[in-house]
């Protein structure tokens, strides 16, 4: 099992990166789980499978909260597991997709989350690759709904905010003891050489490893804006080619690590 967490400020293109990684890696194996762990993002749309989503994990957790009093002697963990496997995991042709959904509402979720952790842990260990599109706060990691990440890819653009968020994610990942092997940076929408130089300096200062510098590509930006699937990206574009290289690198890294 190799867990790749893709994090970054909203709008930097982290969902695009996640979706492309899922597409490329699932060409090699179907033992891939894509996880949308950002309530504000749209990984299912980027993958073009939003019609297939039945329920989010959050919705199942809510259903659990209102149904639990009627469960009698039924085993609640088995109930949750059954619901998650049947309704929250979306079986796409080459990979499975799990949408975490919105964070919990009022009331106590200690027990529900404790059961969820167990179910997810047992589920996830069976996949060769898990690619997680996560928000910058790494909430699911801090709550331990997801245990660990082997590789963290931070996506940023040239904005001051994007870089500041990148820095914070790195600090948070270290604090949370995610036991990651490497932490990378992908710079997206880089329009000038000056910008690229600034990024390289940032990477050096922060002790990150630069995985790719993606140019600003109007067609990609428009596609992202429309919410069209990344599979429609021009195969000859620099973004597409460079992301394939990134995917290959990740594949090689995890094969080596095994």
């Amino acid at each position: 099992m190799t867990v790749i967490a893709v994090a970054g400020k909203g709008g930097t293109g982290k969902t695009l990166v996640s979706a492309l990684l899922v597409n490329f890696i699932s060409e090699h194996t179907t033992s891939v789980l894509a996880v949308d762990a950002d309530p504000d993002s749209n990984l299912p749309e980027a993958l073009g499978v939003e019609d297939q989503i039945k329920k989010t994990l959050g919705e199942i957790r809510e259903l659990f909260q209102v149904s639990r009093d009627e469960m009698g002697t039924m085993n609640k963990e088995q109930w949750l597991e059954g619901k998650i496997y049947a309704e929250a995991i979306c079986e796409c042709p080459r990979y499975d997709l799990l949408v975490m959904g919105r964070p919990e509402g009022e009331g106590c979720y200690c027990f529900a989350n404790s059961l969820l952790r167990g179910v997810l842990r047992r589920l996830m260990r069976h996949y060769d690759y898990i690619i997680i599109d996560t928000e910058a706060g790494l909430e699911h990691f801090s709550r331990k709904t997801i245990d660990s990440a082997d590789y963290i890819i931070i996506v940023t653009d040239m904005s001051r905010k994007g870089l500041a968020t990148a820095k914070r994610i790195k600090e948070l990942a270290e604090e949370l003891r995610l036991n990651f092997k490497k932490i990378f940076l992908i710079a997206n929408k880089i329009a000038s050489e000056d910008a690229e130089r600034a990024i390289r300096k940032f990477v050096k200062e922060e002790g990150l490893e630069l995985l790719a510098v993606l140019p600003y590509d109007t067609s990609v930006a428009e596609l992202d804006l429309r919410g069209d699937p990344v599979s429609e990206i021009d195969k000859n574009s620099e973004v597409y080619r460079k992301m394939r290289e990134v995917a290959n690198l990740m594949l090689n890294l995890s094969v080596k690590a095994r």
């Binding site: 079986e91 009331g107 106590c108 069976h126």
Partner: protein
């Protein structure tokens, strides 16, 4: 009780039998396969699930009626199934042994899920009549030929892991008519019977309760005790959940708490629980009564679904749930009351509970149960209406009847609620409150006494009452009355009217007999 007997095999169906242990299996068996998900594309067949009937059932039978390690398969086997299709599926196990009883059936049945998931290439989901199995193409490729192999592996695991099972026999059915017939005529009645037994299960029927310390990170001194008659405050954990969790991880957040000696059958006080509470709260609390509102009540974590609050003006208890945002008749909202009660404190006058506790036969029985309840929001009342005794249901006010204490008083008088003339608690027929008339007379006297001493007593008010530290943050009350022990009223009653009190900590101790009347 539904009779437990071997099922009859109808004529004309295809039957395969096999007896004895299997020397070798064409699949790995290991806990590492738990959680393995077989994708639709990798699946050979699906059994039960969303489109086909299915169930699993364990029945305890006399020893002479069980043929050990025998499997009977009724209906088509794997080699007659079409790839990609779904089929009906029933798994029935007959078990026997000196220690095997009907009560153990559900516990043993639950393990079918665990054991079958140890089998490589076999996914088992859900339970009872919801079972959903997928068999992977890989398993077939590796040599799985028959469901009999699955049954034999499962039975082997049963006998290895639960050695008290002396004999086990399996009947697997894939014949649609028979699965449906047995589901309706045999399995469902047994499941319903089990649920009914659960409803009837009492604290007295078991030797162990279970603790829950899942939320100790928020409430370090909270000690949740989950008993058959008292689910957790968050409403999520029943005694059965506690038992299941404690079996899997005995040192985890849900641990077994031996009941010990019953010290107060009405209040629900047990020596084992007291010892556990003392230890888990770091010595903060020494006694806990599970079914008492006023005497050593259960601690309140912060996760609770509902908070109960005593209203001295009517000598009754109101309940408000998390979803009700308006102030209760005492002028306080759920969150205000939760804020001062939560955090693992034992606060007399407030009690956090789970909604499921309203179903309990022992629901605050020491303090009159439902007959002491005077108010709850309509939404909450409707949710638990069927658990409220008929003769009191209409006497409990909702926000439609009363929003303030004055309106509540009027309502209770109008419907002749038991609190008006005095509550008799059903559990032992004892009259535990005197009703309003008498109290108002006493009140007049008490007010004068207190008025004289009040200024001196501002920072801390010792009073001859119950031995428990009570933390009351400063909040305004039009009248505050601290109830004396409900069972044996103490000598002093404080009624303070129109007062604004700020107290950091009040320590109230029970006066020893010989010390009565002062130091």
């Amino acid at each position: 009780m539904v009779e437990r007997k071997r099922i009859g095999i109808p004529e004309g169906v295809k039957v395969k039998e096999s007896v004895g242990e299997e020397a070798e299996f064409p699949f790995d068996i290991s806990p590492m396969y738990e959680g393995e998900r077989i994708r639709k594309g990798d699946m050979f067949v699906e059994l039960g699930g969303p489109t086909q009937p299915g169930f699993e059932l364990v029945m305890a039978l006399p020893v002479d009626q069980v043929e050990d390690m025998k499997v009977t398969l009724i209906g088509p086997d794997l080699d007659e199934m079409e790839e990609g299709k779904a089929y009906p599926y029933a798994m029935i196990y007959y078990i026997a042994g000196e220690m095997v009883e009907t009560d153990l059936e559900p516990v043993i049945e639950r393990r079918n899920h665990d054991f079958q998931n140890y089998i490589e290439g076999y996914m088992h989901l859900n339970q009872r009549y919801d079972i959903w199995i997928r068999i992977g193409k890989n398993a077939i490729k590796k040599g799985l030929k028959s469901l009999i192999q699955i049954a034999k592996a499962t039975m082997m695991l049963y006998k290895n892991e639960l050695p008290f099972i002396e004999k086990i026999e399996a009947v697997y059915i894939t014949d649609k008519d028979l699965v449906e017939k047995l589901l309706n005529e045999l399995a469902m009645p047994i499941f319903e019977e089990r649920d009914a037994r659960v409803e009837a299960l009492s604290d007295e029927d078991v030797d162990e309760f279970y603790s829950c310390t899942l939320c100790q990170s928020f409430a370090p001194t909270n000690v949740c005790i989950v008993s058959p008659d008292r689910p957790s405050l968050c409403g999520a954990i029943t005694w059965f959940d506690g038992r299941a969790a404690a079996k899997v991880d005995p040192e985890g957040p849900n641990r077994a708490v031996p009941k010990g000696e019953c010290l107060d059958p009405i209040g629900g006080e047990y020596s084992g629980v007291n010892e556990f509470a003392k230890q888990e709260s770091g010595g903060e609390y020494e006694r806990i009564k599970l079914h008492s509102f006023f005497e050593y009540p259960h601690t309140s974590c912060g996760c609770f679904e509902v908070i109960g609050f005593y209203m001295p003006e009517v000598d009754g208890i109101g309940w408000v749930h998390r979803g009700y945002a308006e102030p209760a008749p005492n002028g306080l909202t759920f969150s205000t009351m939760a804020g001062q009660t939560g955090g693992g404190k034992q606060v007399v006058g407030f009690l956090g509970i789970g909604i499921a506790y309203f179903r309990s036969k022992k629901f605050i029985q020491a303090d009159g149960g439902w007959y002491r309840v005077v108010w709850m929001p309509k939404e909450l009342k409707e949710r638990v209406a069927k658990y409220i005794p008929d003769d009191i249901r209409d006497k409990i006010a909702t926000e439609e009847d009363a929003k303030t204490l004055d309106e509540l008083k009027e309502f209770l008088k109008k419907v002749d609620h038991p609190v008006v003339k005095g509550v008799v608690r059903p559990v032992d027929g004892q009259k535990i409150t005197n009703g309003w008339v008498e109290e108002e007379e006493e009140a007049e006297e008490a007010v004068e006494e207190v008025a004289a001493e009040a200024p001196a007593a501002q920072p801390a008010q010792p009073a001859a009452m119950q031995p428990m530290p009570m933390q009351m943050p400063g909040f305004q009350l039009s009248a505050l009355q601290i109830p004396a022990s409900s069972a044996a009223p103490a000598g002093v009653k404080l009624i303070i009217k129109d007062a604004k009190i700020t107290i950091d900590k009040v320590i109230v101790r029970k006066a020893e007999k010989e010390k009565k009347g002062g130091k």
